[in-house]
């Protein structure tokens, strides 16, 4: 159980080539959607304008080694462990969602392209795929019901959906139906397999095609902004006062 390729039941309806073509189309949707979001909302123009301004205000030039050290700190602290968040619950939920989603995506691509018709690919692939699904669901539902800031701080009921929820809702729906599709396919129910496969494909398509209107692309923007923030602190262009504590204070005690 949960050790077989979850995508082989799909080959009853569509060929392996169609599945692979779908994955390529979704990758293109992510690239095009992110580029559209960057250019249409002038996010790229704003970022370049800000970078030009801070470069002009820099007091000390940074060497390549300095930039490499900053990039490493950004990778370890801001990307790998979501150190930006002062609220530890939000931090843990994002860690779960991020690693879960990455595991889910990578194993999906490998199984669809390398073992599309093989019911028993290397055991590690379906196991990691299921672990990825579970991590995403635990982190995602925790975030959706208990940690969304408009629910916890703005007093909105958890069932009130706004445009900012498009990403989390489509992500949760896609991954939830992926798991349900796997379960009903293992149970051998042909009709239920078709229904859940349809819902899975629908919400997965919506997840990747809706990037210009959703928060999907914040996964790509946040690391860049975190890197730029650290560069500003290091080259003296930051407009913030110099911390009085030797290493500064990333998160106030009352916010953690």
């Amino acid at each position: 159980m949960f050790t077989t390729n979850p995508f082989t039941p799909l080959t009853d309806f569509v060929s392996a080539e169609v599945m692979q073509g779908y994955v390529v189309l979704m990758v293109l949707a992510v690239v095009i959607g992110t580029l559209f979001d960057l250019l249409h909302d002038k996010k790229l123009a704003f970022f370049l304008q800000e970078r030009q301004r801070t470069r002009a205000a820099a007091k000390q030039p940074l060497s390549g080694a300095d930039l490499a050290a900053i990039a490493t700190r950004t990778l370890v602290n801001d990307i790998a462990t979501f150190g930006e968040f002062c609220n530890q619950q939000r931090r843990i939920s994002h860690v779960l969602m991020f690693y879960g989603f990455v595991l889910y995506l990578v194993t999906t691509v490998v199984m669809v392209f390398v073992y599309p018709t093989d019911t028993h690919p290397p055991l590690v692939l379906p196991v990691l795929w299921n672990i990825g699904v579970l991590l995403t669901l635990v982190g995602g539902y925790w975030f959706f019901f208990l940690l969304r800031v408009n629910v916890t701080h703005d007093g909105h009921p958890p069932w009130r959906l706004v445009r900012a929820d498009l990403f989390i809702v489509t992500l949760l729906a896609s991954v939830t139906f992926a798991l349900l599709f796997e379960v009903v396919a293992m149970a051998g129910s042909s009709m239920a397999t078709k229904v859940f496969a349809g819902l899975y494909v629908f919400f997965t398509t919506l997840l990747f095609v809706s990037i210009p209107w959703s928060k999907f692309a914040h996964m790509f923007y946040k690391p860049v902004v975190a890197f730029q923030k650290r560069v500003e602190e290091a080259d003296g262009s930051s407009s913030l006062p110099t911390p009085t504590a030797p290493r500064g204070e990333r998160c106030p005690h009352s916010h953690t």
């Binding site: 704003f46 701080h153 923007y221 913030l240 006062p241 911390p243 500064g248 009352s254 916010h255």
Partner: protein, 150 residues
């Protein structure tokens, strides 16, 4: 000049929503980041600017100490108990100030809800709750009634 949020820096933690005395800092339904829903009602009290852990909220300072084209940023550090200001003028000059916020450790002051509720009869007293002991004095002057001798 009312508060505004740098959307790229905000991580949507909600601290500004909680602290705003005018209840005008809310969460944007499109980006799930904070924004000022009613700039006309902003007191420019700087509460949200100081509370924001990402330093994502800014306010243009008053013209009597910082003319147009300047930037005024503030940094609150609980651990060291300081608040620091940096003004950068448009000609590039900078002024920096640091002040102590308090002399006791963070969290060491007993909050009001930990005190016993005052007796209902105290409503007839001109003193406020827990006066005069909270003011660390023995007695406070009170109004005399007309019948009382001077």
């Amino acid at each position: 000049m009312p508060t505004f949020t740098y959307m790229t820096r905000c991580d949507g933690c909600g601290q500004c929503v909680d602290i705003c005395p005018s209840d005008i800092m809310h969460i944007d339904p499109v980006y799930r980041r904070s924004y000022n829903i009613e700039p006309n009602f902003c007191w420019e009290c700087y509460s949200c600017v100081k509370a924001c852990p990402q330093h994502a909220i800014d306010v243009r300072g008053y013209a009597d100490f910082a003319p147009l084209g300047h930037s005024v940023r503030v940094l609150r550090e609980e651990a060291s108990g300081t608040i620091s200001w940096k003004i950068r003028y448009r000609d590039g000059r900078e002024k920096a100030f640091s002040f102590p916020i308090r002399t006791t450790p963070w969290g060491s002051i007993k909050p009001p809800f930990e005190y016993a509720a005052p007796d209902a009869a105290a409503l007839n007293s001109p003193l406020l709750a827990h006066e005069p002991e909270m003011l660390k004095v023995d007695t406070l002057p009170t109004l005399r009634t007309a019948a009382e001798p001077a």
